[in-house]
């Protein structure tokens, strides 16, 4: 694991506080979507299919900060859409840094070099660019349906690292991914010098253009076992090792849909980042009036049966780390030995 100590401590203190105050349901990462507009149309993405007037809209910085304060999560992930197309991204990040929120700015990096050269961002331990990379050049360009994006992203990563920014990668894997190529991809990212990598299987968005390549649960376990068995010591993952073990089929977790609540121009999305079953007007409304028992594998909800995505299960893994001696011991062991 390659999360900086200060961030680890902030999350630890936050989770322990929730436990000590008896909070059964608490958010870990706020998924803040300031806009749906994007400069790519990826095959597996179901986030950007809206009429023009919706794609033109975006949240104000004030709306974003109100959501951040309401939610209280120590980590704010900014996906979208493409957040670098958000005209107020610089001021938003600055405000979040002032609030000591750990930010993962999830970007395809097409605009990153330009924004860095314009001085939109300042390096901070609170800010990490989480660059979307779905594999080596051929796989990534195919996933984003455009040639040349991999090279642009690599160039932007180098530029960000040169300027002292934290850089991580986020990778979504689909059916047909080659374990060997993914391992080569990890080597490439480590060679570039990224702080850590994040992995997740794709979720079968009903609105995504490609409906054929989403992984089912057993295939997810097979794929991630092949990729992560015998991991190289130099690979660094910016996520819980217990979550990675879950992807490999070594742990059986239930979803924590409230762990990564999502806020966007429509409000607080019910129940989670992936399903859109309605919107709540406040965070409190989301937490108290969502029928959580209708979601997760045990609920029998068919939309949840094959889902193993990080936004539902990483919070479960973190909760286990701080909720049981075994979880804590296993996390420490995996972190120290690098074995999964």
């Amino acid at each position: 694991m390659s999360v900086p100590l200060s961030q680890m401590w902030a999350v630890t203190a936050y989770v322990l506080k929730q436990k000590l105050t008896g909070q059964k349901r608490y958010p870990l990462v706020l998924m803040l979507e300031p806009l749906f507009r994007c400069n790519l149309a990826c095959a597996g993405c179901g986030k950007i299919q809206y009429p023009a007037q919706i794609l033109r809209k975006h949240l104000s910085v004030e709306q974003c900060l109100k959501a951040v304060d309401e939610c209280g999560a120590p980590i704010v992930s900014i996906p979208g859409g493409e957040p670098l197309m958000y005209p107020e991204i610089g001021p938003l990040v600055e405000e979040l840094v002032t609030r000591k929120k750990y930010i993962y700015l999830c970007t395809n990096a097409i605009l990153l070099k330009e924004k860095l050269e314009q001085g939109v961002f300042k390096p901070s331990k609170y800010l990490s660019f989480s660059v979307h990379m779905d594999g080596l050049r051929e796989e990534h360009d195919e996933a984003v349906c455009r040639d040349g994006v991999y090279d642009q992203a690599v160039e932007a990563i180098k530029e960000a690292l040169k300027r002292g920014f934290r850089v991580t990668t986020n990778t979504t894997l689909f059916d047909g991914a080659s374990p060997l190529r993914v391992r080569q991809f990890f080597d490439e990212m480590v060679n570039l010098g990224v702080e850590g990598m994040m992995l997740s299987p794709g979720y079968s968005y009903a609105k995504a253009p490609d409906q054929e390549h989403f992984l089912r649960r057993s295939k997810t376990n097979d794929l991630f076992s092949q990729i992560l068995s015998n991991p190289k010591r130099r690979w660094r993952f910016n996520q819980s090792p217990l979550f990675l073990q879950f992807l490999m089929g070594k742990r059986d977790y239930e979803c924590t849909p409230w762990g990564n609540p999502t806020y966007n121009i429509f409000g607080w999305q019910r129940p989670c980042y992936l399903l859109q079953e309605g919107y709540a007007e406040s965070f409190q409304d989301l937490m108290t009036n969502t029928r959580w028992e209708n979601y997760g594998r045990k609920s029998g909800n068919e939309k949840c049966q094959d889902c193993m995505v990080h936004c539902g299960f990483e919070a479960t893994a973190v909760d286990e780390t701080f909720g049981s001696l075994r979880g804590f011991r296993d996390t420490v062991a995996a972190t120290l030995t690098g074995k999964l």
Binding site: A41, A43, G46, Q49, Y50, P51, Q53, I54, R56, K57, E142, C145, A206, K207, P209, D210, F266, G267, G278, Y279, N289
Partner: protein
């Protein structure tokens, strides 16, 4: 199957609540026909029937909103806007890549012949 262009008929077999659910799931603009005869074109992003007075929320065609309308004010909803989730961008990409691969392979086959 896309609902683009559908003009539902509310009757014993299809309730307004069902049409609203479909409109909520639809990724395009719809035309909301109100009981007072006024038509509104917009994007329905939310509906809530777990409250005493069920309602929908929408942004109009110019992006203004969000506005709220009670179910009791709605007569019908037509699926008049383009279904943005029915696009074929990915299929077009796959076909183009296949064609490129074919063109790259063709000269090589000609050379070997």
């Amino acid at each position: 199957m896309s609902l683009e262009g559908w003009m539902p008929v509310i009757n014993d077999y299809l309730s307004l609540a069902e049409v609203i659910d479909l409109a909520f799931d639809y990724r395009g603009n719809t035309t909301i026909i109100k009981n007072d005869g006024v038509d509104i074109v917009g994007y329905i992003f939310n509906r809530n029937r777990d409250v005493p007075e069920p309602y929908i929320q929408y942004f109009d065609q110019a992006g203004n909103g969000p506005f709220k309308l009670f179910y009791s004010e709605i007569q019908n909803i037509k699926f008049t806007g383009k279904d943005t989730a029915a696009g074929s961008s990915w299929q077009a990409w796959v076909e183009r890549k296949e064609k490129e691969k074919g063109e790259r392979a063709a000269p090589a086959s000609a050379d070997s012949a």
